[in-house]
């Protein structure tokens, strides 16, 4: 069996007078037809390592040690002072090794037809091919990755393609020249679980068909368990553990691997509910309808169609569903950010108007939100102290000590007060966002995918924090999520939404043990699990 990619003792450092080591002594190897999972949290160097293999390191970083060999060609050998030139690398990219990036939304040019973009990927390494032939090949490729009516769809631009379809197009481009090596960097992180399952099926099928090797970079151990033959765990720029996927996950030898596995949301419901009886319900929303006006269309698009939610004080109700199912619109309607076209909202026993602008400040206090994206949630110019102080200042209730208490509540000590968001990690930012949301003592907290942008270990910490705060303050949580694992460990009840309607609502345990609706079953089946079914049989030795 021949080795497609071999990295030995790779070291990557930043440029500059005082270089920081980002990747140190990393070795990995992928054979033909094999699938290697590279797992680690953000900053572990997993992406840098494979980018280095293609000579695509970002500006400001460089390889300072080790060897990189692709298909018996030595691309980098620092000791022997061998450095592949840009020409050699270009000839290699796309032909010998191809990459599928994380974000299918930004990897495609929004102004060009998808088919034309696939055709250019074909022509890069086959310049003699006529445009027409390239276009035909592009359509064949799109058909082969499961794009229906590829000939017609090829002429449309990316905004008319869903996330999953775009990722299929990216894969079509990557396999245009039957590469020996496919590198997929978090290929499904931006996708729904059901779509994720389809894309992973496709990658497995492509691998079977072309016999290429796959390097799957991800933070999701479940995904690796189902989709890789061997596994490399990285942490702080070093390889922690490597071995056959099944063996490593069954009996991890290293402490860090065990911690990663332990941080995965537990496959069980939370033990003691925090529901408080005798207090006003945190939220009673009835028959909520949300419409969006679309320019050029007479009838508005109905995002939420008569949904009712009731959340007791201290209760967590999760709303799950695929993107576009209306779960975020529901949250916005509760907050008034997107006024409901019909229906009533009562927060903490107080009926509030549908439009945010029509609500009094005291009414707005009752429901607060923690945003999904910890990067856009905080004004980059304000210090942590000022960020948390803002709601208090709005209500003219600012008090230095109060801000300190709020920060302490979310586990941030005095030393963080003067920092800017740019100096915080994703988890710390999310803590600041939670402290800000709690500043006005709300009855209901809307959590819009609060942990989906965080690493698993950080996820676990934030979820624990949310649980503690809920018990302390008797908060009701409206928990919007697409991650069923997270939902299982925090929610008391689950509402499953599809096409703007509720298809199933039940206590968490019941949803997971005895799902009624076919869509719920489909969602549950798509979640990657450590002990999930293997997607690929190891191909026979070549």
């Amino acid at each position: 069996m021949s080795t497609v990619l071999r990295i030995e003792n790779l070291r990557i450092e930043t440029d500059g007078d005082t270089p920081r080591t980002l990747v140190d002594g990393v070795s990995l190897q992928v054979d033909r037809g094999e699938s290697l999972g590279v797992v680690g949290e953000s900053g572990s160097g997993k992406s840098l390592t494979v980018l280095a293999a293609l000579g695509l390191l970002p500006v400001g970083t460089r390889v300072t040690g080790g060897r990189i060999v692709i298909d018996d060609r030595v691309l980098v050998d620092v000791e022997a002072d061998v450095w592949a030139g840009e020409r050699e690398l270009r000839a290699l990219r796309g032909r010998t090794a191809a990459m599928v990036f994380q974000d299918p939304m930004s990897s495609l040019d929004p102004l060009r037809a998808v088919g034309a973009q696939v055709a250019s990927a074909v022509r890069v390494h086959a310049p003699r091919l006529s445009r027409r032939a390239a276009r035909e090949r592009a359509i064949d490729l799109l058909t082969s990755v499961g794009v229906r009516d590829a000939a017609e769809r090829a002429a449309t631009r990316p905004h008319q393609w869903s996330g999953g379809m775009r990722q299929r197009a990216m894969i079509a481009m990557a396999i245009a020249h039957d590469p020996l090596l496919l590198i997929a960097d978090e290929p499904t992180t931006a996708l729904d679980v059901t779509v994720q399952a389809q894309v992973m099926d496709l990658l497995a099928e492509v691998r079977d068909r072309t016999g290429s090797a796959l390097v799957l970079i991800t933070h999701d151990l479940g995904l690796v368990a189902e989709n890789s033959d061997r596994l490399t765990v990285m942490h702080h720029g070093r390889v922690v553990e490597t071995g056959a996927t099944r063996a490593v996950l069954a009996a991890p030898a290293e402490d860090y691997t065990r911690r990663l596995m332990a941080a995965m949301p537990a496959e069980q419901e939370r033990a003691t509910p925090a529901v408080r009886t005798g207090e006003a319900d945190a939220l009673v929303a009835e028959n909520i309808v949300v419409d969006y006006r679309v320019s050029g269309r007479k009838t508005p698009v109905r995002a939420v169609d008569g949904v009712s939610v009731r959340i007791a004080a201290g209760e967590t109700v999760a709303v799950v569903g695929e993107s576009g199912c209306g779960k975020s619109s529901l949250a916005k309607a509760v907050l008034g950010i997107q006024p409901a076209a019909a229906g009533t909202v009562v927060v903490g026993g107080v009926p509030v108007r549908s439009e945010l602008a029509a609500r009094t400040a005291a009414e707005r206090e009752l429901a607060q939100i923690v945003f999904q994206d910890p990067y856009s949630a905080l004004d980059p110019r304000l210090t942590v102290h000022e960020l948390v102080a803002e709601p208090l200042r709005i209500r003219r209730a600012y008090n230095r000590a109060t801000v300190g208490t709020l920060l302490a509540d979310v586990g941030l000590d005095e030393s963080y007060a003067k920092r800017l968001p740019g100096q915080l990690s994703g988890g710390q930012r999310q803590r600041v966002g939670i402290a800000r949301a709690l500043a006005l003592r709300p009855r209901l907290l809307v959590l819009d995918e609060p942990v989906s942008a965080l690493d698993v270990s950080i996820q676990a910490q934030v979820l624990t924090l949310l649980d503690t705060l809920q018990r302390e303050h008797g908060l009701g949580y409206l928990f919007i999520s697409h991650d069923l694992g997270v939902v299982r460990s925090i929610a008391d009840r689950v509402i499953v939404m599809q096409h703007g309607r509720v298809v199933e609502e039940a206590p968490t345990a019941q949803i997971f043990s005895d799902p009624q609706h076919p869509f719920t079953r489909q969602l549950l089946a798509a979640v990657p699990r450590l002990d999930g079914p293997r997607r690929t049989a190891r191909p026979a030795a070549a």
Partner: protein, 291 residues
């Protein structure tokens, strides 16, 4: 879903690393500023006083007139100093007027959108289509040309660039969660605009303003050259060059010296503003990178 667009908001000002171009720029502009600041303090400072017996003295010939005299025997060094103060002063006022007006319009258009934005876009396009210099000439044909008039006309017609850029930034900011958050806590639009939008927009305004200074210097000087703007006997770079060009054959320094000062000022500002934009561009690009 985690598809999020990280907006490059306020340029992150990091360690200031001077570029060689910036040092040259600072030196050039510094010379001009020094000229305007020091010369009026010297004993022989007299930009208006005529002395026909001492007319057209060459530079470095007469200790009483270090840079010589013009056709009316007025001290050239004094006149250059006053002209620099006049032209730079006018430029600064015009740039500030446009920056404030344009950013305000752009921010309102971007934040509120809808009909207000459509109206503002229409007004911008009309303004952009207007030939400013011809407009000023037309107005001066009716009213008496003066510095104030030039400032007023230029100060109200050069804002479209600011409005366009700030509109886009404000529109992108409006969709950011940190702008929505204060609204859910009881804040109003004024709060959001003053606390979050303006502070995140103004660094961009500053960048445009820095690059605009040179343009405005050239435009006001061309207008002065045409006799629109500051009226004699008060000197300006443009009017000094106009006066000097009649003596180009015999006494070229009369036109060359104000031209040189203008070159120093415009070049200096350009070099400096490049440092400024390069610095902030680094900040903008840094976001969304690896790690």
């Amino acid at each position: 879903m985690t598809t999020s667009l990280t907006l490059a908001t306020a340029p992150v000002v990091r360690r200031w690393r001077p570029r060689p171009g910036a040092a040259v720029g600072a030196l050039m502009l510094g010379t001009v500023l020094l000229l305007t600041a020091i010369v009026p303090l010297l004993p022989g400072f007299d930009p208006m006083g005529q002395d026909l017996r001492a007319a057209l003295r060459p530079p470095f010939a007469d200790p009483a007139h270090p840079l010589g005299t013009d056709a009316l025997g007025r001290d050239l060094l004094s006149r250059l100093a006053l002209a620099s103060a006049v032209t730079l002063g006018m430029t600064v006022v015009i740039v500030i007027m446009n920056a404030v007006l344009g950013s305000l319009i752009g921010i309102l258009a971007g934040y509120y959108g809808g009909r207000l934005e459509a109206l503002i876009t229409l007004v911008s396009n009309v303004t952009l289509a207007m030939p400013v210099v011809l407009l000023l000439i037309a107005i001066c044909a009716v009213l008496r040309p003066s510095a104030g008039l030039t400032i007023l006309v230029l100060g109200c017609t050069w804002w479209v660039g600011y409005a366009r850029v700030t509109r886009n930034i404000a529109a992108a900011l409006r969709r950011q969660d940190f702008v929505v958050s204060p609204l859910t806590q009881g804040g109003d639009s004024v709060w959001v605009l003053t606390r979050h939008i303006v502070p995140n927009v103004w660094p961009h305004t500053l960048i445009i303003a820095a690059t605009d200074v040179a343009t405005i210097v050239l435009i006001t000087s061309s207008l002065e050259y045409l006799g629109l703007g500051v009226q004699p006997p008060v000197p300006s770079w443009g009017s000094m060059i106009f006066d000097g060009q009649r003596h180009l054959a015999g006494d070229p320094w009369l036109a060359l010296l104000p031209g040189l000062v203008m070159l120093l000022a415009v070049g200096g500002v350009q070099f400096l503003s490049q440092q400024f934009t390069a610095e902030t561009r680094g900040g903008l690009l840094r976001k969304g990178g690896m790690r």
